[in-house]
């Protein structure tokens, strides 16, 4: 290959990465016209680039950590002394000041487990409201997993914590005494952790009754005028809010 045709590795990659100015680009393109080998190589570099991009287009979802790991995560978080006066996490500073919320903004606030784990260090209230409005079994199962992790971790760290589950809409099924799928687990959890509160949405109950569907709730379940009322009340009192 003559000197004129020689296109360095750096140039080939810079060509593929769009790093060349017009003159350099033209020079490489010209060489490619004359040099099938170079064409093929540049094609392979492009392919490598595309493959890498494709490989991470959908990274694995953020992990639902293995139970042991999750528990230890909570434990370390719960045990950590809190001296972290930063701004809130992703706009979730709202709970720090126990804001007075109108109903629309209360529903607009979406905490999630990930956020809660992050916020936990900064909490001094130790009160967590878990709002369940989805009837999706996976989400409900996960909610129970998380609640259990949290309660166990707090107990292990001798940290007092109060958790309340408020359920409405399709999520109300979580608090039904029948069918017994989640009911048995929730009842067992309540026996072990009396600090776990259960609250059903009165409006959802009304609606179901109006449709002729009688709902039997788990023993010890309180009924709030509505889930929204309960959420706002708890937010005003400075509870951490997680929506499932």
């Amino acid at each position: 290959m003559s000197e004129e045709h020689k296109v360095s590795d750096e140039l080939r990659n810079a060509f593929v990465d769009g790093e060349l100015d017009a003159a350099e680009w033209a020079r490489v393109a010209q060489s490619m016209e004359r040099d099938p080998e170079l064409r093929e190589e540049v094609g392979e570099l492009r392919l490598a680039k595309d493959l890498v991009r494709h490989a991470y287009a959908v990274p694995p979802s953020r992990p639902r950590r293995a139970r042991a790991a999750a528990a230890s995560g909570w434990r370390s978080i719960a045990a950590a002394a809190v001296a972290f006066a930063a701004a809130g996490w992703f706009g979730h500073a709202w709970w720090e000041r126990a804001p007075a919320l109108d109903s629309a903004s209360a529903y607009a606030l979406r905490g999630d487990w990930h956020t809660l784990r992050a916020d936990w260090r900064k909490l001094d209230g130790n009160r967590v409201l878990v709002h369940v409005s989805s009837g999706e079994p996976a989400a409900l199962g996960r909610a129970l997993d998380e609640v259990e992790d949290l309660l166990r971790a707090a107990r292990a760290a001798r940290r007092s914590v109060k958790v309340e589950i408020v359920a409405n809409s399709a999520g109300l099924d979580l608090l039904r005494a029948d069918p017994a799928r989640s009911a048995a687990r929730l009842a067992a959890l309540r026996r072990e952790f009396p600090e776990l509160g259960l609250v059903a949405c009165g409006q959802t109950l009304e609606r179901r009754r109006a449709l002729g569907r009688q709902v039997t709730l788990l023993p010890g379940t309180a009924v709030a005028p509505s889930a929204l009322d309960q959420v706002i009340k708890r937010l005003r009192d400075g509870w951490v809010y997680v929506r499932v």
């Binding site: 680039k49 694995p60 930063a86």
Partner: protein, 184 residues
């Protein structure tokens, strides 16, 4: 965009963070190939960014600034710093993601093999090539993010691509027929 004061800047950083969570996580994952660790690193980087919002001078450089913080988190993290991760762990992470419709596709298998090849690169090359390929960072930006000279960026790109080409050669013929080949 001008950022008038500290609070405005912090608000801007927070807004940007909300949209950058996935970016940070994906890049962290591409660097360490461990979903839980990547989650931690992305999280840590976002926290630091919020605390250091006052240091940000130009809003335009926010992405590079965030990624630099992430790179520092990786540097400070012994687990993430490991040059060679255990490759079985890559498989496991993917397998653990479960049989979603996406995972079931052949493209997921392809992604898996490419990730393994990327995971086998030394960390420095891995970081450079993923910043360029996933985020479309310029070489100059990569130099800023990783705090290395642009010449180093270029040589790492070359070495990384060479290694990837060799490792992915068996895939090339499969992929060439597929839609993955985008000739621009």
């Amino acid at each position: 965009m001008r950022i008038p004061d500290f609070f405005g800047r912090r608000a801007a950083v927070r807004r940007e963070l909300e949209t950058s969570r996935e970016l940070l996580y994906r890049m962290a994952y591409a660097w360490c190939h461990d979903a839980a660790l990547a989650d931690d690193l992305a999280h840590e980087a976002a926290e630091k960014a919020l605390r250091r919002a006052g240091q940000l001078r130009e809003a335009e450089k926010l992405r590079a600034w965030l990624l630099r913080i992430l790179a520092n988190c990786v540097r400070d993290n012994a687990r993430a710093r490991r040059e060679l991760i255990e490759l079985d762990a890559v498989e496991e992470t993917l397998a653990a993601a479960g049989p979603t419709p996406e995972e079931a596709q052949a493209s997921a298998q392809l992604a898996l093999r490419v990730r393994r090849a990327v995971a086998e690169l030394p960390l420095g090359q891995r970081q450079v090539v993923t910043l360029v390929d996933l985020e479309g960072c310029s070489y100059a930006e990569v130099g800023e993010i990783l705090e290395i000279p642009i010449g180093t960026v270029m040589s790492r790109v070359c070495r990384a691509r060479q290694a990837l080409r060799e490792r992915l050669a068996p895939l090339a013929s499969e992929a060439l027929g597929a839609r993955l080949r985008s000739v621009k």
